[in-house]
């Protein structure tokens, strides 16, 4: 080697060394730096109690806090608004691109093209294991559409810019609430719903109160999926409006005080984090697909994953314990250990729904029964339910890919039909063990075609189930509405649906303990394809091993007996 080459070698070594030192330093300082300064964000003890007050501290969102505009000072918002669309018009006079952006979002279209499976999903198309279908029940279901007046799923939502509902996401919820049966419109005059007066919206106050969406904005729809508080998700319900740290470390006012968009941080009115297509094992990769070091994950954007902030080496410190825990992150999703149970906030979630018993009447009238904990257990409109609180999740391998059963699929009804089959197995490098709420449902299908059917539940017409309680008419009505073939015969079959659990993250000290999985008969008893120490055994080697030990002990015992028996003759 010439002197020159030697120097070059030294130079390369030095560059590598300094890069390594720099990277280590970066990794160590980036540890505690999660997001921005808390100065503007963390609430004081005093204003925790005035959560309904408009001046209360806003939650941390995907954007840095610090507003430059007070909407109550805008003249255009000081008019006597008569309807939601009028307010939207005013909003759009400044936020010129907002309507176009919303028109492009899943919140507007209720449509999701899954590139991995080629399926067209979204509320507009999917038949699920809860209320079934939106189609033919529109004005009821579209009370959760981010717009006004979508009354027919067979057509696109209304195209007028002012049909976008700005207020449902941006207004203080104390001034604004969409009426359940008016296709997304609020009421501004006293109106009854279900025998009780419904909240009258104050559009002027609402328009002036706008901010980045708070949890109760998102929650006004997402808490109530499936037709009631906590019914659908299990990890999303109204208890997240004001959760304790034990319930959710990120959302608690004295925890992270984060809004939904702190994690679901998108831009242009589009947010990441759809269940239709998930990233079950988020990783930072370079352009050639090579895995980048853990801390590079913090540069990922547009992903609503734990790893986006915490990386795939989230347990801090160079301790043996941290290393051992971080060893799990390639196999086990963060949520699996950090969400020990769902429905922990005092709101029960629906675990079982039997539509087949719906339609019973007492003296010709529908009725409802509650279980001994006060949760609905029967409703003539919907059938039998089981609600549960503090539910331990069901675990499964999951690679983020979900395959839905559509209205075109012929079903094998010899066993429960999984409406959203999970992709992934132990061998799949994109799969990890995830926690789920496993929904158990009995719902109608076409008895001859063996295909899912549309239930026409809501409406004033004679076919609507909630008017006449006649399944034959309700299903015929739903199928006719969608123009689907129908044999005229229906049956109820068992279906299942997997709901990923990812909210209600408990504090570290309340996480699932090692013993709960590393044991025979533990939480992960049914997970296949991976050796879990403490749960699993290698039967052959164990038999040989214990056999060897027993033989050794036996040998020792026999030898001892002989030594004892011959001790006298040896002493003489």
């Amino acid at each position: 080697m010439t002197d020159h080459a030697a120097f070059r070698g030294l130079g390369i070594a030095f560059r590598h060394l300094s890069a390594a030192i720099l990277l280590t330093a970066l990794a160590s300082i980036s540890g505690p730096v999660i997001g921005w300064s808390n100065a503007n964000a963390s609430p004081t003890a005093a204003n925790k109690t005035e959560s309904t007050n408009q001046s209360a501290e806003k939650q941390i969102t995907g954007k840095k806090p610090g507003e430059t505009a007070d909407h109550s000072k805008f003249e255009i918002l000081q008019q006597d608004f008569k309807s939601g669309p009028e307010v939207t018009k005013a909003c759009l006079s400044c936020h010129t691109e907002a309507a176009t952006q919303v028109h492009d979002s899943i919140h507007w279209k209720w449509e999701y093209d899954n590139e991995k499976t080629g399926q067209k999903l979204g509320k507009r198309y999917v038949i699920n294991a809860f209320c079934g279908n939106v189609a033919s029940n529109e004005a009821r279901c579209t009370s959760c559409h981010a717009g006004y007046g979508w009354k027919d799923m067979r057509e696109n939502p209304p195209s007028a810019p002012e049909a976008v509902d700005c207020l449902v996401c941006h207004a203080d919820t104390q001034y604004y609430k969409k009426f359940p049966t008016k296709a997304g419109l609020p009421v501004t005059e006293p109106t009854m719903f279900g025998g009780k007066p419904f909240k009258v919206s104050n559009l002027i106050e609402a328009a002036q109160s706008v901010s980045l969406p708070q949890r109760d904005n998102c929650g006004s729809c997402h808490y109530y999926g499936g037709g009631g508080d906590g019914v659908k998700h299990g990890d999303i319900d109204s208890s997240l409006d004001n959760p304790s740290v034990d319930l959710d470390v990120h959302m608690a006012a004295d925890g992270g005080n984060m809004a939904c968009s702190a994690c679901h941080s998108g831009s242009g009115h589009v947010w990441p984090g759809s269940r239709y297509d998930m990233d079950a094992k988020p990783q930072a990769r370079d352009e050639e697909g090579k895995k980048l070091p853990s801390f590079a994950m913090r540069r990922m954007n547009e992903t609503a994953s734990c790893e986006s902030c915490h990386t795939d080496a989230p347990h801090q410190g160079k301790t043996l314990e941290a290393i051992k825990l971080n060893n799990h992150t390639d196999t086990v999703a963060c949520q699996t250990c950090h969400i020990p149970e769902f429905a922990r906030g005092g709101v029960a979630t629906k675990m079982l729904w039997d539509w087949s018993t719906a339609g019973k009447l007492k003296d010709g009238k529908p009725f409802a029964i509650k279980d001994d904990k006060g949760h609905p257990s029967y409703d003539s409109k919907k059938g039998d339910f089981i609600y549960e609180e503090n539910v331990q999740p069901t675990y499964s391998w999951f690679n983020g890919k979900v395959n839905y059963v559509t209205d075109e699929d012929r079903l094998d009804t010899t066993q429960p039909v999984v409406l959203n089959a999970l992709g992934g197995s132990a061998e799949d490098e994109n799969a990890r063990i995830w926690p789920f709420k496993l929904m158990h449902t009995k719902q109608p299908i076409d008895a001859e075609n063996k295909k899912l059917v549309y239930m026409h539940l809501f409406g004033k017409d004679a076919n609507a189930f909630w008017k006449n309680f006649d399944w034959a008419k309700a299903i015929q009505g739903g199928q006719d509405y969608m123009g689907k073939d129908y044999s005229g015969k229906f049956e109820f079959i068992e279906t299942r649906m997997w709901w990923p659990i990812t909210h209600m993250v408990a504090p570290a000290n309340k996480a699932v303990q090692c013993d709960e999985c590393h044991v025979k008969g533990g939480r992960l008893e049914n997970i296949e394809g991976v050796y879990i120490p403490g749960r699993d055994d290698l039967p052959l080697i164990s038999w040989l091993g214990y056999g060897l030990i027993i033989l050794t002990i036996l040998g020792v015992a026999i030898h001892t007996i002989f030594r004892f028996a011959t001790r006298k003759q040896r002493n003489h």
Partner: protein, 238 residues
């Protein structure tokens, strides 16, 4: 009872002394480091077996979490001890005692199976240059060079699983690592049981244990050996 380091019957001993003069002396066969090594290794192996079979699920007197921490820390200490002892064994020349040999191995095995029941003397006479009988050498050499490294190599692979498993987890290879580690663990436990039992076969039940505590043992020495030790290593002879 018999003792491998001293002739058993008075007749036999007299016959020998007639041939060449034999001195019965207490000699320090186990140095301070050797005894430290032996007992710390013994404790570590018990800790490792206890915590290891907890991790495996055979027993569960302590939480899994504590067992893992206990096992990993003890493992690191034991590996360090093993490495240092290997260094010590070679630098001090002690390795000579551990080299296995077939010569006399069968006789020693037959002695434990038959001879000692009949009150026959131990066929092996330990000397200053060879303080272990062939069966001991065979057993200790196997443990130190086969079972030990099998355990800690598979153990390190087990512990640092995520460094080699790659993105797909390599669950089959992981199972193989577990398999090897288990094989090692069972062999080690069987050895420990056998070893503890063999320790009781001395002149008294605790004769050998005492030797491993004090370091001193009764030996038959030649005149030359006594003279040498008294002159050059007076601490080793009483």
């Amino acid at each position: 009872m018999t003792d491998i380091s001293s002739a058993s019957g008075p007749a036999a001993s007299k016959a020998k002394e007639a041939k060449s003069k034999v001195f019965h002396r207490k000699v320090k066969n186990y140095s301070r480091y050797e005894r430290f090594w032996h007992w710390s290794q013994a404790i570590l192996i018990f800790v490792l077996a206890f915590s290891g079979f907890t991790v495996h699920g055979t027993i569960r007197f302590i939480p899994f979490h504590s067992a893992v921490m206990m096992h990993d820390i003890a493992a690191f200490v034991l590996i360090f001890l093993w490495l240092f002892t290997a260094f010590w064994t070679f630098t001090t020349g002690q390795w000579r005692h551990f080299v296995p040999t077939n010569a006399g191995l069968w006789e020693v095995i037959m002695h434990y199976l038959v001879g000692m029941m009949r009150g026959q003397p131990h066929p092996y006479k330990r000397t200053l240059s060879r303080k272990q009988n062939p069966l001991q050498s065979f057993a200790y050499f196997s443990i130190m060079t086969l079972v030990g490294p099998l355990l800690w190599l598979s153990g390190l692979a087990y512990m640092f699983y995520s460094f080699w498993a790659g993105n797909s987890g390599n669950h089959e290879i992981f199972s193989l690592v577990v398999l090897l580690h288990l094989i090692g663990a069972f062999l080690m436990v069987a050895f420990v049981i056998g070893h503890i039992y063999m320790v009781t076969t001395g002149k008294t039940l605790i004769h050998y244990t005492k030797a491993m505590i004090t370091g001193f043992e009764d030996m038959e020495l030649t005149e030359a050996e006594v003279t040498y030790l008294e002159a050059h290593e007076p601490d080793r002879i009483k």
